[in-house]
Symmetry: C2
């Protein structure tokens, strides 16, 4: 049975990554942070649809709304249909100013977010609230130019995939719906997790006349420029392993050099291919390292105390289980075999996989890749000592090179903090904002980039010290 909490925690999974274009990877081994950005973007892949036995299906009507492609210019562009899901069953109605619960759709199919946001659905009847789940432009069915193929064709067609345009879509949709329903007096409360949480907080800041408050779960709005240290994310992931087992943490930390050295040996790539059961021969140890790093990061984001079968079927406390497998190998087991045993918790918990495909994204570039290459430029680094990952420094030039290659677009790394704030965020909020709840679990690697202390009486942080998810949704 999906409790609100249970259904909700699944949301954290939207943080999970897509893969870079293998064509690009074959040419370049610069260490771009875009890879890390991609942890936010798993659901920007078009093939992710709600599925699995634990996925709750809530009741709603699917509607469409015609939107301008560019709200901030008057360039002649085709409009597009934005999908939204709506349920008015429990709504107290306009005469009683029944509230509107509005989920800020993230980078993916909105049906998926609706299916995994039990908190909003279960809260709505208590408040006599209408529930609306609008889809984010360029995801799911809300495709400009009529189809994903055209919308994702190139930098020109993708260029209106920005967070400000998405917020303007939301603002116009809310305004029009309220007008149609004569519900001008109905307060709008925003919800969102991860990127959707960032949107919820930003929407409350930018459109205070439209929404009276926001619950922003696990929203790393400070993960830009140097606002938080770039090591934050991987340090928190690493800490999740270290607290389970120091030796597990050390094994992982030592594995990177071992893998790289093995790759230099004659037949080394072949041996690694066999040990890790890949379907095709490894082309580079970088690919293996990326595959492992992804698994560890995903696990830190989905380290729940109960089994889930969301993107991957996982046991309860999967990091504990991974470390148990690594640590319990008999003496003399090679480090590669230990690492493999551990990582199967993520990639093959059900034991049904015969061999692994290292490149699991047949769809090429995702929408989140584009967003990471334009506005969502989040610096990541991995520091010796605190991190179990390969050491690397943040290198903006590598990001820029990656984005020019991948999309022919140049990122604007300082834009988000200019548009939405970030530096001295608390002071700005203290003199201005109100009615935002930032909720975070401190074991969630994204919590480091969120707001963890109360800013004022009406901008509050809900922090769960041992929380493994930031999303009470």
């Amino acid at each position: 049975m999906a409790t609100p909490f249970h259904a909700a925690v699944l949301l954290i999974l939207l943080f999970i990554s897509a893969t870079t274009s293998s064509a690009y990877k074959a040419q370049h081994h610069v260490r771009s942070s875009i890879k890390a950005h991609r942890f936010l973007g798993k659901f920007s892949q078009s093939h992710n649809k709600p599925s699995g036995p634990n996925i709750q299906q809530y009741e709603y009507e699917t509607r469409y709304f015609e939107q301008q492609l560019d709200h901030f210019s008057f360039a002649k562009l085709p409009s597009f249909r934005q999908r939204y899901l709506i349920n008015t069953k429990h709504w107290a109605g306009p005469s009683r100013s029944g509230p509107i619960f509005f989920y800020c759709g993230n980078e993916g199919d909105i049906e998926w977010f609706a299916a995994n946001t039990g908190f909003v659905w279960e809260l709505a009847p208590q408040f006599g609230a209408m529930v609306i789940f609008p889809e984010h432009r360029y995801y799911g069915e809300s495709m400009p130019y009529g189809s994903r193929d055209i919308a994702y064709k190139n930098a020109s067609t993708l260029s209106y995939l920005t967070s400000e345009q998405a917020l303007a879509d939301f603002a116009i949709l809310i305004t029009e719906l309220k007008r149609n329903l004569s519900a001008q007096a109905s307060p709008v409360v925003l919800f969102g997790g991860s990127y959707g949480g960032m949107l919820a907080a930003w929407m409350r800041l930018k459109y205070p006349h439209i929404a009276i408050g926001a619950l922003a779960s696990s929203a790393p709005i400070l993960q830009f420029e140097d606002i938080v240290p770039p090591e934050t994310f991987y340090d928190i992931v690493s800490n999740g392993f270290k607290r389970e087992s120091k030796s597990c943490f050390n094994t992982i930390k030592e594995s990177w050099n071992a893998i790289a050295s093995k790759g230099q040996e004659n037949n080394g790539l072949h041996e690694l291919t066999k040990t890790f059961h890949f379907c095709r021969k490894l082309e580079s140890t970088n690919d293996l390292s990326d595959w492992l790093e992804s698994a560890y990061s995903y696990l830190a984001m989905t380290n729940y105390p109960y089994p889930t079968d969301f993107l991957m079927p996982l046991p309860a406390n999967p990091i504990k289980e991974l470390c148990r497998r690594i640590d319990s190998c008999p003496d003399g087991t090679s480090i590669f075999q230990r690492i493999f045993e551990g990582v199967t918790v993520y990639y093959n918990y059900t034991g049904t996989v015969d061999c692994f495909n290292i490149d699991d994204d047949p769809h090429g570039m995702s929408g989140w890749d584009w967003q990471a290459c334009t506005e969502m430029v989040m610096p990541f680094a991995s520091k010796n000592g605190t991190s179990m990952f390969p050491v690397y420094e943040y290198n903006y030039t590598a990001d820029e090179e990656y984005c020019l290659q991948a999309f022919n677009v140049k990122p604007r790394p300082m834009w988000i903090s200019t548009e939405f704030g970030g530096h001295d965020f608390k002071n700005a909020l203290r003199t201005f904002g109100s009615n935002i709840i930032f909720s975070n679990g401190l074991l969630d690697p994204w919590s480091g980039g969120s707001v963890l202390e109360d800013v004022s009486e009406t901008i509050v942080a809900l922090v769960t010290e041992k929380g493994k998810t930031s999303c009470p949704l």
Copy 2:
């Protein structure tokens, strides 16, 4: 001598109108409100440069800053050079957190606004403040595509002339300047009058992390949709005449039908052309009515108790003088002759004009015309009883038709209130905003669309009951 007040009040003149394209007017006699919008746009004409003996020249350096043409998309577009004027002479510097006074440039050459905003210049030394006057995109020298001719070529090149883009220009300019000067701790205070005042208030709302407060003078941010009645503007203009002289008000009110009837007579247009001393024969009595309406509206906006020689040389209390001339004509003087005697206060106070050109805009469409046809859709109407102007109802369809004809662009009449608020503005500000002063003189016709009551302890209205200008700048 230009006192701060004296220099400042001149600013009100930026409210003065441009003229519609005569080609358009010849074809259409629908009553479009765009005409009235244009009272905000006089300075969007490229030929307006600071001049006249009373214009103060303040000391500043002229610099340029490279801006994105579209901040909200990643479309491949050429960047452009934004001009800004800067004076750091009295600045207390970064170590002492010297403030930055930032004037939100309006629809015109920024040198003109700098020359006419004594308040900011004279206040700066007292506060140890740096002074910055950035130019609004598409005005003065801040032309996209390198030249006015290309920038104003068509709807496609003009499409990035929007208020949100202008605010983003300001936000990026401030952020970059502060970074370069290591002045992150320096508070930024926004100033602006008329459209610039609207920008100042909106900027404080949208970029609270960038500016700590705003002084918005005579800023009709509520002059959209049905937020204030569409009659407001002309009622205030009319009231300015009625309070001087009831008979003057009535003469003007009666003149419109008299003019229209005369135009129907054989030789009527010829007689009117002679009476009003036009250089070329009138083509329509509508043109004459427009010419008169403009004069009355301008006078209401420049009805100062001292002489000015700004756009037009004017005596002190020009409405009193106009009414004196109308009322003091000997009995038996025709209504046309009375009206002509009156209106010469505006068009020919120095008595040097031999004949009048009815179409005084050789430059075609102005930037403000574009803005009025896209975002700045302000409904105006004139109601029998309270207004001395020809009666007409607001007709959005006429606006839309005008804009499609003139620019091939369709207005977005509900966009501004969606983006910046307006409906239930006070409630939105009460829960969210702070540090905005709305200053208004109640005899200023634009005051009706501004904020005239305190909203909270930190959002205050400074209202001068008999104030003829709203700008303490």
